[in-house]
Symmetry: D2
């Protein structure tokens, strides 16, 4: 059965007569409204019946499936089918959306932390597990067996969460590099011939850098696993290496270029701006602008736009690189710190780490010069740092008050951005 047929089936399941009993809901809603005056015993009884009517009738089926062998995996697959939006398909209707949510709630309940099993992956782990980890790696593709062997070798750690309901399946994977200090680029970690074979020397290891976190199953999107994994791993590493007390990610800024393209004034307007005596005050300083002007036949903002669209091979042009550094760092800092979606960080990865209680610690220039890294983040990467003493407070501060912690470097760059844009 192909995806379309499976989706059709799920849409049928989500509707009458398998969904909630809307007639009964209406009936008991009226009774509840009437009973609100009466004694609590009666009220509770009517409420219970209303609650039952609101429970989709397919929920019983889902529970039955979960009790079968591999049943939970089947439900996760069902949810993945619902969330997949193959080209040419219509968006989900309200009933199918409800089904997807019911599935998410059930899966969240089962994948409670009490049953998640933290497992360190080594070169002695089962081959099929390592093969899956290779395949699931979303952030930095794994190409060969030597890649994955390095990732579980000395000065590295790889941890997964597994769950008894989906045996042998790594639900979420975290790759960690142990190092003297927080890494400022990804090349040295995932590419090249960096000699990791030197034995682990606890006396030289002070930092643990999370350089990739991947959730393996699309049906578990929105089921919170990564947060717990990071905290568990921090605990494991501190137990093994009491000397390591600095924990940080080295993360991409996946939405930066897309945002920048939209943020830059559109072409006609851009031309006008650039030709004016004080060109693009809010984006480039005069010095920056004139430097860029000298290095290209294009207008400065056009150059920026080209770069944000992944055009050209600017990264090999040393002068251009030098000229771009200041404005791109400033813009990226603002993007991370200032751009919001319903009060939260607009960037998905930033939002993930801030929710976990991390701070925005350092922006790194030329930190990912892969094609992908240049195209999505202009080669920038950011360290989100986990300060264990305050991680819980910061998480609450962010989730409840949208408070974002950032380092001096970030705050200074943001201030520069604001100063410039208020000219």
């Amino acid at each position: 059965m192909d995806l379309t047929s499976r989706r059709d089936l799920l849409v049928i399941l989500s509707k009458d007569p398998y969904g909630p009993d809307h007639d009964a809901v209406a009936r008991f809603a009226v009774k509840v409204a009437e009973a609100a005056q009466r004694d609590s015993e009666t009220l509770r009884k009517v409420e219970a019946r209303l609650r039952l009517a609101l429970t989709p009738r397919y929920k019983h089926l889902l529970t039955s499936i979960s009790r079968q062998n591999e049943g939970v995996k089947m439900l996760a697959d069902m949810r993945a089918d619902l969330l997949a939006t193959p080209e040419g398909t219509l968006p989900l209707g309200p009933d199918a959306k409800e089904l997807a949510e019911v599935l998410r709630d059930l899966l969240s309940e089962w994948f409670s932390v009490g049953l998640l099993h933290l497992q360190r992956v080594t070169w002695s782990s089962p081959c099929d597990l390592l093969e899956k980890i290779s395949q699931y790696e979303a952030v930095h593709r794994i190409r060969h067996w030597t890649d994955i062997k390095r990732r579980v070798g000395p000065n590295r750690r790889c941890f997964v969460f597994t769950h008894p309901a989906m045996p042998g399946e790594p639900l979420v994977v975290l790759h960690v590099k142990l190092a003297p200090e927080i890494s400022d680029n990804i090349q040295s970690i995932v590419r090249g011939l960096e000699i990791d074979e030197e034995p682990e020397d606890p006396k030289r290891l002070f930092a643990a850098v999370f350089y990739s976190i991947s959730s393996s199953h699309p049906g578990l999107r929105g089921v919170e696993l990564g947060t717990f994994l990071i905290r568990s791993v921090v605990h494991e590493i501190q137990t093994e290496f009491p000397s390591i007390n600095v924990f940080s990610s080295i993360s991409p800024i996946p939405g930066f270029c897309r945002w920048l393209v939209k943020f830059l004034p559109s072409a006609p307007h851009l031309n006008a701006l650039e030709l004016s005596p004080t060109p693009s005050p809010q984006i480039l300083t005069a010095t920056e602008s004139s430097q860029l002007q000298k290095l290209s036949t294009r207008l400065p903002l056009e150059t920026l736009r080209d770069i944000a669209q992944g055009k050209g091979d600017w990264v090999r042009n040393e002068e251009l690189v030098a000229a771009l550094r200041a404005p791109l760092m400033r813009l990226a800092s603002w993007y991370l710190y200032g751009e919001k979606l319903r009060g939260r960080a607009f960037d998905a990865v930033a939002n993930f780490h801030l929710r976990n209680g991390a701070s925005i610690w350092r922006l790194n220039w030329l930190a990912d010069n892969s094609a992908q890294g240049l195209k999505t983040s202009c080669g920038l990467m950011v360290n989100y740092r986990y300060n264990l003493a305050v991680v819980e407070d910061r998480s609450v501060g962010y989730l409840q008050h949208n408070r974002v912690e950032a380092s001096e470097q970030i705050l200074r760059l943001v201030a520069e951005y604001q100063a410039l844009s208020e000219l």
Copy 2:
């Protein structure tokens, strides 16, 4: 903290402001009633908010607890506290009842079969597991280590369900005797010096007799585990012994004596009956009545009542035993087959096995002559037999249509009872 304090705390938790938000319920109930006319998108949104309002606010807390180490066990303990009714305590109010039900639903969800782990217990199993099994045995008390050693020895099997959320805890225990045929008494299984040490001879083993099934944790009452365990064990035994194709329990009739005491006419009325020319037509035949009269200074029905109340040492009086056999077998058959509670078997053990898809197969006289057995079941035991080919159908037939399967022996005894009572 003692039980009373813990219950007080749970009652507080079950009420405002931790329970359902009744005001919001009332508010959204009105809106749902209004929206019933409108388009489905709007309706679903209001329904979703109503559903949320009906969800007790403490449910979030319960889920958080479940995620802690040993959290699920703590929730089961909480439910056990709610269900315990120590002397002098008031019965649960509607809110606390609701909390107990929410807990049951959550526990049922977690203890889904997909995660239950069937484990055979042997003399090589951990000591603490065997100790717990000894302590939890509800049906036939285990006194010494030799008792439990025999129960896991040759020609026996002992299986438990464990669950990753409560490691090391046997949630439900099933004791099985392998034998040439279905046992007709419990003495030979759990008491005396029966030589179990003879090696297992698959050529002589045709029947598996379930002689004890105990649920270990009071907080899991109502969370269906026993049914799954019996089916899994049947599967295991058939795999190990293809020759074994007869599966049956040997079960007590825990409610029989209590029911009989109530069923017999009360004292004054009883006197009148006995003195009348056709005494107690519906209970004893004339022959039975006169035989009992000869063997006791008491009136026949008084003798029955005494026995049902556990008085006297009738089981050592061979004549009395012979005279009682026919009436007690007849009455017990009726009790098992004919006495109902909301359409289901009145006897809890009968209801358990019928729900599982078993039939009432054989009533056994003098099958449990322990003090406990005589007091609750007049020494009777019953075999519920599992015919695998039809077990699923019978379970459905019973659950949906209250249909009860019984053997010829049972049906004949029931017919005799009916013939007599319609005199």
Copy 3:
């Protein structure tokens, strides 16, 4: 087959034509003697053939047996049969002795430490393992399951060595008590109602006392296992409790009373001695002698002899206990420190611990008032102490130079004994 038949069979196996080929030995011995003059190549060839002729022909059979399932256990059982000396049987002839030695050498080779597996036994260990440990306990009998439960409970440790060739079999068992200081008696450890249930408090634990070490299989006598076990356990305990740095045994003196009976002058001579003006100068001081005289109708040395023979209930007589303390402590110290067999300690337990590198640290009065303890050791026990820094040196010192380390207490008592006996 009973023991006698089995032994008969083994005797046959040990002789021609299954033993060494004595004719070939003689033949090649002559050739070796001749070849000694010649070049090394020829010599080595003749030596190789002589070596082969000297190898019992049954050795190939033994190796074949070892390769079968449970074969190693069978060989250990064979050796146990040879070493058993049931009443009425003749002692082993030279060939059977040789077979026993070949078996010991083979078993020693297999039970090399590389394959011995140190296992901590807890209440979660398999029941059959705990049952075997109970049965094998040679030093202080285990009576009930509560006994063995206590021995694996808090403030105790129980370790065994197992070996893949004899799975599930505890080859040697060591029981340890964790305490604030070295125990001076065994009662408080293995008897009574001492509350071990108080949780382990590393802040109050400084000493580990080995209170029982038992080798389980009689066929492994002489195969050194106990030494390795003690060293491994010391390592384990130090890893778990860095605070514990005192390690000692609390050991019986199994040969003391038997030795004392022989040591005391025989009856007639004894009479003469006692009646002389300076009675028994080498055994009792004048004061001791007169004190004992007052407390008994028997002569002082007769009293000593009675006690060494386990007669009377002297331990309840406080005055007698007080009068005996000094002479028995002095004699026991001498027995432990001064009595030798081929240069080594005469007492088997002393020899075991001294070989391991321990010192004789403290003699304890009224330390084992069980019937067994009074009969064999006059109620005395001794602590052999393991000082890890020097344990290796001391072991070598003892094995190569018969050097014995003892504490000041022991040396003072020995000096008293010597002073007295040289009067």
Copy 4:
């Protein structure tokens, strides 16, 4: 330390004063010769001392090493060093040879079957184990991870022996193909794109073909492991697939070409032979000779020699292939069946399987057309078949009476060879 230094050290260890005490040997040899007349007690004592003198003094050191962690592996490595004969090194002297033999005997004792652990390797086995198996494969090189994945996939089995003394080390590896019938070539098994992914269908599987057996550690050469592995695997496969009752290898003939080159008359003689009227009667028939003549400018026996030396690309020349088939099959049959070394099969692989109790069952033409296969075996392979009912008898028949079982095909080819050579 490099190999040469390590070997130098071992040579020192093997000599005085660490080897056998030759002086003492000579001394006790004389005494034994004298004692041969006397009573057995004395004789045995002198024999015991002689045996001790013959035992190399380094044996105690070796045993001590074996007791260390990884000690057994170290001894196997030592033996590997002794057996290695790097270019330019002298062959081992008699003492070093003796050391190598003592090591082999010790290793044989430890690697007794009782402790060998049969383990099935699957794609869920540890990565490092699969990596080692890839590296150790001696018969058909494994190139990629997909190769090794196929080897543990459906319709295949891979088994290893491991031993507790060398944890994680596959001592000997056996690769098996499950198929409808015995394979007649290796290409279809280890090369190409053969679809193994079709699910296992027990109804179509009747044969198990051992297509590669590799001993992993050079220090264990001569320690018999492969025989036990084949028998254990036969047992495993029969348990899993009762339908499979044909067991056979598909094996190379590693010494065939080398033997053939030597067997063919040398060049000048060869010329003379070929030019004579009845050329090479014992090697080619007249027809074969003239056919080969037609197909090459070289003389027929020169052609054979070229092929045996791996020259030319004859396998692509269909006519040549057709003309060579009869003579090469005949010669190879004779080589396998008739060529002997001390009464045993000259070919090492043939000797291995015949010792195990197999028969020479089928010779296969063009069965291994890899460069290696053509060069060593002229592309031929042979099936050694294991008939379980008689495998034990055949092994004894071969080992004790040099009896070789062969199929009709082989015997017919051998008869043809004999008829021809006796012309």
